[in-house]
């Protein structure tokens, strides 16, 4: 290495990429989110081939590669398939740690639904029943469900 390279104090540049994004929900997810917002309902779709019920609702079944157009209303309750209590913070998280991520198998669905749990974390466990709690003021996005919370006896 030449001498001048040794003499240099390496600098860094602090910056960011702050492009604002607006994702179109599309007709299928728009219907899912309007039902969430206006009626406090969670909608799924059923595949005409494998008959599985997917939630959140989506337009096509990735496995059968066919469009799904049969809508299914799911109850806001189900069973915890997986959970983790998060103990670190970053700016995109919707809640102050500790909070939990849960995969919830809503009653009647064939796949699990990812969301958060903010309280009664000590009651969480695989197999535990949880229920979605909706926000009072809802805007048509996934956080219209404020969180899930454990229900019933442990």
């Amino acid at each position: 290495m030449t001498d001048w390279l040794r003499e240099v104090e390496p600098l860094t540049l602090k910056g960011q990429i702050a492009v604002p994004y607006t994702w179109w929900a599309g007709d299928t997810a728009s219907r899912f989110f309007t039902a969430l917002r206006d009626e406090g309902k969670i909608l799924g779709t059923r595949c005409p081939e494998c008959r599985k019920v997917f939630v959140p609702a989506r337009r096509s079944c990735s496995r059968c590669f066919v469009e799904m157009d049969q809508w299914v209303e799911l109850p806001p309750e189900g069973v915890v398939e997986a959970f983790t209590i998060v103990r670190y913070a970053h700016p995109i998280q919707p809640a102050e740690p500790p909070f939990a991520y849960v995969l919830v198998k809503l009653d009647g669905a064939d796949v699990s639904f990812l969301h958060i749990v903010k309280k009664d974390l000590q009651d969480l466990g695989v197999g535990r029943r949880v229920r979605a709690v909706f926000k009072e003021k809802r805007d048509g996005h996934i956080l219209d469900i404020d969180a899930f919370e454990p229900v019933g006896e442990h």
Binding site: K14, W23, W24, D69
Partner: protein, 159 residues
Amino acid sequence: MEKNGTPVERLEITFKHPMPYEWSIGRYGSRFFQEIREKRRFIGIRCDGCGSVYVPPRRVCGPCFRELTELVPLSDTGVLTAFSVVNYPFIDPATGELRPIPYTYGYIRLDGADNIFSHLINEKDWHKIKVGMRVRAVFKNPEEMEGNIQDIKYFDLLP
């Protein structure tokens, strides 16, 4: 439930969380900014294969695939090879806000360099700017310098 009927209200999901970065400038680039702060001049780097002088200095010559080590002092003047008075609205990805316009940026061949350096030109009236004009860098005061491209305020057109 029934099948898909009339189109629903079409929603959009917005996401405005900036992505923070701290990019390394590297030894070659850091030396460039150090030179500006201490000596108020540019430096480039010469390839001992093809003889090209590059600014800002970098470690490798693309055509020759050779490591570059020979720093070359350059003056603070050069020739404007191209320019654009930017006068259309766009969002600056560094801020997420509209960039103030108009502003002018130019491609400058610094005296003694073989490639082009791009920076702002201190003139917004495109009638007053011509390709081939000589330009001189205007630096910030050393105490204001932060070791980045904005240590150069802009280039002035020379009469």
